[in-house]
């Protein structure tokens, strides 16, 4: 379970996130929506432990910067960056060693799922941007995290990978993980979201569930809230 409580992040005098609170329960998929510059990536970096902030963020009861919390976290960054001089398979090997987990074949199954298995001996620098993104997703999932944060995960992915990623979202949900997805590709999460948090100017301007919206699409909701003035 991910709990974000009264989080404020300032850069000098500018508030990138202003008193944000939300939760993502076990087995729940929450989507984080908002126009460019709304503060989505900032809150994601705060949750991932990359930024300092005022407030409280907990993962399954552990403060997000503790080692216990980090063991539970999977993070797919906005900018996929891989090691130039490590092969695809070595990236996963490195992640398994980092998290002190024995390889039970899951790493290879992830590579197969994202069509990277035949490229397992390719160096990071030889991968296209799309492949780097797939590898980044595999690295975030290989230690079977309980809280997974995706920051624009669909960018650069081919249709097969998008299909597989949607399947991964569903599997994570069924396995009881808490999933937070920030994306502009609204139709890609249309079929699986449980909660939507819509940000504007560093704050939440709305939060809703599919049941409360009577069949409205995320796109309709997004424009209604960000441009139509709905509170």
């Amino acid at each position: 379970m991910l709990v974000v409580k009264n989080v404020t992040k300032k850069y000098g005098k500018i508030k990138a996130n202003d008193n944000i609170s939300f939760t993502v329960s076990d087995g729940e998929i929450a989507v984080l929506l908002g126009p460019n510059g709304a503060g989505k990536s900032t809150i994601i970096k705060c949750i991932s432990g990359l930024l300092r902030f005022e407030g409280e963020i907990k993962l399954n009861g552990y403060a997000n910067k503790t080692l216990e919390a980090k063991r539970l976290l999977g993070y797919v960054p906005e900018m996929p960056a891989v090691y130039d001089m490590l092969t695809v398979r070595e990236h996963l090997e490195f992640m398994l060693r980092s998290y002190k987990i024995k390889d039970d074949g899951y790493a290879d199954s992830l590579l197969e799922r994202f069509e990277l298995f035949d490229k397992k001996d390719k160096l990071g620098k030889e991968l296209s941007k799309g492949m780097q993104q797939k590898l980044s997703i595999c690295c975030a999932l290989v230690h079977k995290p309980r809280v997974v944060i995706f920051d624009e995960p669909m960018v650069g992915l081919d249709p097969h990978a998008i299909k597989e990623l949607k399947e991964v979202f569903r599997k994570l949900k069924n396995d009881g993980a808490s999933v937070l997805i920030s994306t502009h590709m609204l139709d890609s999460v249309e079929s699986c979201w449980d909660k939507a948090y819509i940000m504007k100017g560093g704050c939440f301007c709305a939060q809703t569930t599919p049941d409360a919206e009577n069949g409205k699409t995320l796109e309709e909701l997004f424009f209604e809230i960000t441009e139509g003035g709905r509170e």
Binding site: K45, L51, A81, E93, S98
Partner: protein
């Protein structure tokens, strides 16, 4: 094996394997090793014909080099820090279950390796250093290690400055003022002691640089003390230097790990900036070295139509990037060249060094950035005209740099007016020629070939196109014996003709991007 040890070992092993898979890279490595071997062999082959120079001059040069590195590196701490991490480290290690102090140690270790690799240019100085000061290759390795340690500690210092000041503009201003005050006081002290001390400027500089007080200049002072201790077997100096090094590291760890235990945010921005620059370079895109706070000033184009709009755009960009004829790199190179001419008392040597460095720096002009963007190809003007306007920005800085370097050297060392003028002309002519060679390489190989191969071919072409001028200079000097200046003027004229031919041959490079494989 732990994950970090696994990561470091795989990186090294894969880099070696990679070199064998890329013939061009392998050839370049072999060429560098061969050149290094040749430099050492040639340096050792003949004993110095003249008496050796005072070794204290070398110690002064070492201090100057280390201090320059310290100032240039540490001042980046006021802007964006100096990240020792890659973006992959941020994404995969920072978010993982590792203690921040352990991650910091990994970053420092990686940085030390990179620092030593960067300093390899020092090894190529063996021949003249051996000839002038009688040093062995082992001594040069000690100087290289000192250089690596200076870069390493300076980056740590920059990161410390960034961690302390990044959150507050007020703190940034206060620390920057103190920093500038200390550096300014240091140079004022140097100036007073050297210029007002009477007698020879060179002698005063060397005496002052070797005085005990200089050993306590931050980082570069105590590193130089250790290097001098190791070279001269002065074990007390070496031990004091090592103690300073250890104390610096301990204080650093305490400050970073205890006072500001959560440093991830502080390195994140610097890492993102460096990642964007690396990605842009890999994709052959332009990287603008603009200051953090760009003062927009007057907006809009008042002049410039068609191709001349390119030159006008460069003027505006330079104004906003605070480049006034000379950019920061230009000033640094001028200072280093003057220092080398001053210490070696040889304008020829200063020219040789400057020409060598121009091989690397001349491609940093705005014209090179233009080639990587689509706009210049789309402007409906003749490609040759566009090319000339794109190159125009480069000329004033080349001329200005030449005038400054050889004007100052004229005042500092024994040089006649014709020599100063001819050397300045020679620098400009080589600058033109390297621009021509860069264009030719861009036209022939573009952006799609291996970078190592491009560098290799660039070196070969730079050498080949310099031959006509050098041969003519040699012939003129052998025939007339009227002094070196006439030979240098003839060489410069031929260089300029060669560069004009090269630019003319590449006149269609801006017709379409495909011509340079963009």
């Amino acid at each position: 094996m732990g994950s970090v040890a696994y990561l470091l070992s795989r990186k090294i092993i894969n880099r070696i394997k990679e070199a064998f898979h890329r013939p061009a890279e392998l050839i370049l490595i072999i060429l560098f090793v061969f050149l290094m071997g040749f430099t050492v062999f040639a340096g050792n082959a003949e004993e110095p014909v003249t008496a050796l120079r005072d070794i204290n001059e070398l110690y002064a040069i070492i201090l100057a080099l280390y201090t320059l590195i310290f100032i240039l590196t540490s001042k980046s701490g006021f802007v964006n820090g100096a990240s020792m991490f890659s973006m992959a480290d941020v994404n995969l290690i920072f978010t993982g279950p590792k203690k921040q102090s352990g991650v910091l140690f990994y970053g420092l270790l990686s940085q030390l390796g990179r620092s030593l690799i960067l300093g390899f240019f020092i090894l190529y100085q063996y021949s003249w250093l051996h000839d002038s000061y009688g040093i062995s290759f082992g001594t040069l390795i000690i100087i290289l290690v000192g250089y690596g340690i200076t870069v390493f500690l300076s980056q740590m210092f920059a990161m410390l400055i960034y961690c302390v000041t990044s959150g507050s503009d007020r703190k940034n201003k206060i620390f920057k003022s103190v920093y500038l005050l200390v550096i300014g006081a240091f140079f004022a002290y140097l100036f007073i002691k050297v210029c007002l001390g009477g007698g020879s400027l060179l002698k005063n500089t060397v005496t002052l640089a070797n005085s005990a007080v200089m050993n306590f200049f931050p980082i570069s002072g105590f590193v130089r003390m250790g290097v001098v201790g190791a070279i001269g077997k002065k074990y007390v100096s070496l031990i004091i230097s090592l103690a300073c090094f250890a104390a610096f590291c301990v204080i650093y760890f305490i400050l970073i790990s205890v006072i500001n235990a959560d440093y991830y945010e502080d390195v994140l921005k610097a890492t993102e900036i460096s990642f964007s620059a690396i990605t842009a370079r890999k994709e052959g895109k332009a990287v603008e070295a603009a200051p953090r706070n760009v003062k927009v000033g007057k907006t809009g184009f008042t002049k410039g139509e068609g191709a001349s709009a390119i030159a006008q755009k460069h003027k505006i960009e330079n104004r906003r990037a605070k480049f006034f004829i000379l950019d920061t790199m230009g000033v640094i190179m001028a200072v280093i060249t003057i220092a080398i001419g001053f210490f070696s008392k040889s304008a020829v040597f200063a020219l040789l060094f400057d020409v060598y460095m121009m091989i690397f720096t001349v491609s940093a002009g705005r014209w090179a950035k233009e080639l990587s963007l689509p706009y210049i190809y789309l402007i409906p003007e003749p490609p040759f005209k566009k090319l000339l306007y794109a190159l125009r920005e480069q000329f004033p800085s080349l001329v200005m740099q030449s005038v400054i370097i050889f004007g100052v050297l004229f005042c500092l060392i024994e040089m006649t007016i014709p020599e100063a003028v001819s050397f300045a002309l020679a620098k400009v002519s080589f600058g033109f020629m390297f621009i021509g060679v860069n264009l030719l390489i861009s036209r022939l190989l573009g952006n799609s070939e291996s970078k190592a191969f491009i560098v290799f071919v660039y070196f070969i072409f730079a050498f080949i196109f310099a031959i006509p001028g050098l041969a003519a200079a040699f012939a003129a000097y052998s025939m007339f014996f009227t002094g070196i200046w006439l030979a240098v003027v003839i060489m410069s004229v031929i260089n300029i003709v060669v560069s004009m031919v090269l630019v003319f041959l590449c006149r269609n490079i801006l017709e379409c991007a495909q011509y340079n494989n963009r």
